[in-house]
C-alpha cells in the first residue's frame, strides 16, 4: 500500500507575526517554521497504518529551501520518501494551483490513500485537500476524526457541528483531510533523525510536474489584496468595584442587552 501525505510548512506557533510593509504577506525572515499542526496529525495517521501493515509513506511539500526541514522531520518520524517542489514560479499560487501541483504528484505516485490536514494554520483556506481529491477523482472526507482500513474500503469518522460524528465509508483510493487532536503525534527519535538524511528527498519543479502554466501569480484566480490587523475598537466598558459589584453589574448588563 502507498500513502501520500501532503504537508505544509507554516510559521511556528510561537513566532511573532509582523506584516510586510506592502501588506502582501507576513515577514518570513528570521522566524521559525514548523509543520502545520493539522498535517502532523495526518502524518501520524499514515504512520500508524504503516506500523500495522506493509506500507510506503511518501510525504510531499511545496515551498522554498527551508521546506526541506519539514520534510526531514517527517522522514525522521518514519516516512519513507519525500518530494519537495521547490520552484520560485510557484510563489503567489492560490489554493487551486497548490492543489494542481499536489495532484500532479498524486498522479505520478498513484497512492492508495492521500492524507492532508483539514486546513493550514497560516492561511486557513481548508480547500486544498478537497481540491486535490477532485483533481485525482478520488472520494474524500474532511474533518476526519478517525480512519480505519477494511479491505478496499476506508471507514472514517467525521466531526460535525455540536460534537456529533458522522461515519462514512470511502472506496480506495481516497483522500482524508484530518482534524487536529485525533491522535498522539509521535516525536522523531534521535536515531530516526539520523536515518532521515539517508532517505530519498526528490526536489521537483513545476515544469517537471507539467503544471508550470497553471501556477504562480499569473494563474491565480484569487489574489490577496491586503493583509492587515484591524484597528482596536473603542467603547469597552470596564466594570469596577468589589467582585460582587462587578458580577452584579455584569449580570445587569447582560440582561439589559437582552443576551439572556
Amino acid at each position: 500500500m502507498k500513502i501520500l501525505v501532503c504537508l505544509k510548512q507554516v510559521p511556528h506557533q510561537d513566532a511573532r507575526l509582523d506584516i510586510k510593509s506592502d501588506g502582501s504577506w507576513i515577514q518570513e525572515e528570521s522566524i521559525k517554521f514548523e509543520i502545520n499542526s493539522y498535517d502532523t496529525y495526518a502524518l501520524e495517521e499514515a504512520l500508524r497504518i504503516k506500523d500495522e501493515k506493509e506500507a510506503e509513506v511518501v510525504v510531499a511539500s511545496i515551498g522554498p529551501d527551508r521546506t526541506t526541514q519539514a520534510l526531514r522531520t517527517a522522514l525522521g518520524m518514519g516516512a519513507d520518501r519525500a518530494v519537495h517542489v521547490n520552484d520560485e514560479s510557484v510563489e503567489g499560487s492560490d489554493a487551486l494551483a497548490i492543489a494542481k501541483i499536489l495532484a500532479a504528484i498524486g498522479k505520478e505516485e498513484s497512492p492508495d490513500l492521500v492524507f492532508t490536514g483539514l486546513m493550514a494554520d497560516d492561511g486557513n483556506f481548508a480547500s486544498v485537500g478537497p481540491m486535490v481529491a477532485e483533481l485525482l477523482e478520488m472520494p474524500h472526507a474532511t474533518a476526519v476524526m478517525s480512519a480505519s482500513l477494511e479491505g478496499e474500503k476506508l471507514i472514517a469518522e467525521r466531526e460535525l457541528e455540536g460534537g456529533a460524528l458522522e461515519v462514512v465509508e470511502l472506496q480506495l483510493p481516497c483522500l482524508l483531510a484530518v482534524q487536529t487532536g485525533i491522535n498522539q503525534v509521535r516525536y522523531a527519535s534521535l536515531k530516526g533523525i539520523m536515518a532521515a538524511k539517508k532517505k530519498p528527498l526528490d526536489t521537483r519543479s513545476a515544469a517537471d510536474l507539467g503544471v508550470q502554466e497553471l501556477v504562480g501569480t499569473g494563474a491565480a484566480k484569487i489574489k490577496v489584496q491586503e493583509i492587515y490587523v484591524p484597528p482596536k475598537t473603542q467603547g469597552a466598558e470596564i466594570l469596577e468595584g468589589s467582585t460582587t459589584d462587578v458580577a452584579e453589574g455584569l449580570v445587569a448588563k447582560i440582561k439589559e442587552l437582552g443576551l439572556l
Binding site: E34, T68, Q69, R72, T73, G76, Y187, A188, S189, L190, K191, I193, M194, A196, K197
Partner: protein
C-alpha cells in the same frame, strides 16, 4: 564561513524543542518546589534515544559529536525547565565520557548500552570540600585489599546521587607526597553506589532543585579491578579530556536559559500596560533586554565555534573556557533583566522568571568558577604569569 546549522543539527534542535516544550512552567515549578526528580521528562527523552547522543553506535548510541549534544542541550535549556531540564539529561549524556574514551572493552560492553538507553544513572564523584578546585588534595582513598579495592572518603556536589546506581569516583591510590606530580596517583572507578557503604545526604541549595545535589559519605566500599577506568594512578588525566566538552555544553545550556528568560520578558513587556501603554515602549525596559539578547547572541557564537573546534580536532581549550565564561554571565544577566522587567511579579514564583534567575546563578560557579576561567585565559591565552 557558514554559520547555519546543517539539517542534522536543525532537526535535533527542532525535535528536542518540540519534546521539551511538552513540559511547561507549572510542571517544572512544581518539581522544583517539591525537589522531585522529573522522571516523566527524563523518560520521554530516554525513549527517543537522546541520552545516547555521544555513546558510540556499537554500544547502542548515536555516536555523534559535541556539537550535536550542545545543540540538544541548548534547545532543552531553552524551555520552561531551563537548568533543571538540562541537568536532568546532561549527567546521563556526559557522565560516562571517561568510560567511552578510556574504559576497557568489557566495561564498555557492560555499561554503555544501559547508558545510551537511559537506564543507567551515574553520579559524578570528583569534588571534595577540603580540596575544592585543587583536585590533587582529595582525601578519598582506595586501598588494595586482596584482589579488590576498598574505598573510604567523602565527596560533595554529587548530582543525581539519589537516582544513581553507580558513581564515577576519583580516589587517591598513591599518596600525594609519594607522586612525582601532585595530579598523579589518583584512579577513576565506576563503583556501585551501594547504600550499605555509601550514605547520601542532599544539599539544600539555591536553585535547580528538581535535580538533587548531595554529599556522599563512603565507608569501606569494595570495588573490583573490572571497575577501574583505564590505568591505576592516571585517573585525573582521564577527567581532563572531558573538561572542554563539559564547558562547551554548559555554555550552550546557559545560552538556552538566557533565551528562555528573554522570551518571557519580551512577551511580558509587550503585553503589560502601565500608564496606558506597554512597558516595552520604555527604553529603560527595552534597552537592557536588547543588550542582554545581544550578549547571548555573541556567547552562542563562542560555544558553537568551540564545539566545531572540538569536533574537528582543532585546539578548543581557550574557546571552551571563554564560551563558558561569556555564556554564564550573559545568561545570568538575561535572567536578572527578566526579573526586573516583570517588576514586583518577577519576584513571585508564579511568574517563573525568579526560578530561571536562581538556576542561572549556578553556572557562574560550576563546574568551574568564572574566576578560575579568567586565570586560565590570563595564563594560557595571554601568557601572563600564573597567579596561584
Amino acid at each position: 564561513m557558514d554559520f547555519k546549522y546543517d539539517d542534522d543539527l536543525q532537526n535535533i534542535e527542532n525535535e528536542a524543542s518540540r519534546l521539551a516544550g511538552q513540559f511547561d512552567d507549572d510542571y517544572w515549578r512544581e518539581h522544583d518546589e517539591k525537589h522531585e526528580f522529573p522522571w516523566e521528562f527524563y523518560n520521554a527523552f530516554a525513549e527517543q534515544g537522546w541520552i545516547g547522543v555521544i555513546v558510540p553506535e556499537e554500544y547502542g548510541g548515536s555516536g555523534l559529536g559535541i556539537s550535536h549534544a550542545a545543540v540538544l542541550l541548548n534547545a532543552v535549556a531553552h524551555s520552561a525547565g531551563v537548568q533543571n531540564a538540562a541537568s536532568t539529561l546532561h549527567l546521563s549524556i556526559f557522565g560516562m565520557g571517561p568510560v567511552i574514551h578510556h574504559g576497557s572493552e568489557e566495561l564498555k560492553q557492560r555499561t554503555l548500552p544501559a547508558t545510551a538507553s537511559g537506564a543507567l544513572h551515574v553520579s559524578f564523584g570528583v569534588t571534595e570540600d577540603d580540596a575544592g578546585t585543587d583536585t590533587s588534595r582529595i582525601r578519598t582513598f582506595a586501598r588494595r585489599d586482596g584482589d579488590h579495592w576498598v574505598i573510604n572518603g567523602k565527596k560533595i556536589w554529587n548530582t543525581k546521587a539519589q537516582q544513581a546506581q553507580k558513581i564515577l569516583l576519583l580516589a587517591r591510590t598513591t599518596p600525594r607526597e609519594e607522586c612525582a606530580k601532585p595530579l598523579q596517583g589518583m584512579t577513576l572507578f565506576l563503583a556501585d553506589l551501594d547504600p550499605n557503604h555509601c550514605e547520601i545526604r542532599p544539599i539544600d541549595k539555591c536553585g535547580r532543585n528538581a535535580v538533587n545535589s548531595n554529599e556522599v559519605f563512603i565507608q569501606d566500599l569494595p570495588v573490583s579491578d573490572d571497575d577501574v577506568i583505564g590505568e591505576v594512578d592516571k585517573g585525573f588525566y582521564y577527567l581532563l579530556d572531558g573538561l572542554n566538552p563539559e564547558r562547551i555544553v554548559i555554555a550552550s545550556e546557559c545560552c538556552g536559559i538566557g533565551r528562555q528568560a528573554i522570551d518571557k520578558a519580551v512577551h511580558y513587556a509587550r503585553e503589560r500596560e502601565v500608564f496606558d501603554r506597554p512597558i516595552g515602549m520604555n527604553q529603560a525596559i527595552a534597552h537592557p533586554l536588547a543588550d542582554a539578547y545581544s550578549e547571548l547572541e555573541a556567547a552562542d557564537l563562542l560555544w558553537q565555534k568551540a564545539a566545531w573546534a572540538y569536533d574537528t580536532g582543532e585546539p578548543c581549550g581557550p574557546l571552551a573556557n571563554m564560551a563558558k565564561l561569556r555564556a554564564s554571565e550573559a545568561s545570568f544577566k538575561a535572567c536578572d533583566r527578566a526579573v526586573q522587567t516583570f517588576g514586583g511579579m518577577g519576584y513571585a514564583k508564579e511568574c517563573n522568571v525568579e526560578r530561571y534567575w536562581r538556576e542561572s546563578r549556578m553556572s557562574r560557579i560550576a563546574p568551574i568558577s568564572n574566576e578560575m576561567v579568567l586565570n586560565f585565559v590570563s595564563e594560557h591565552v595571554l601568557g601572563l604569569p600564573r597567579s596561584y
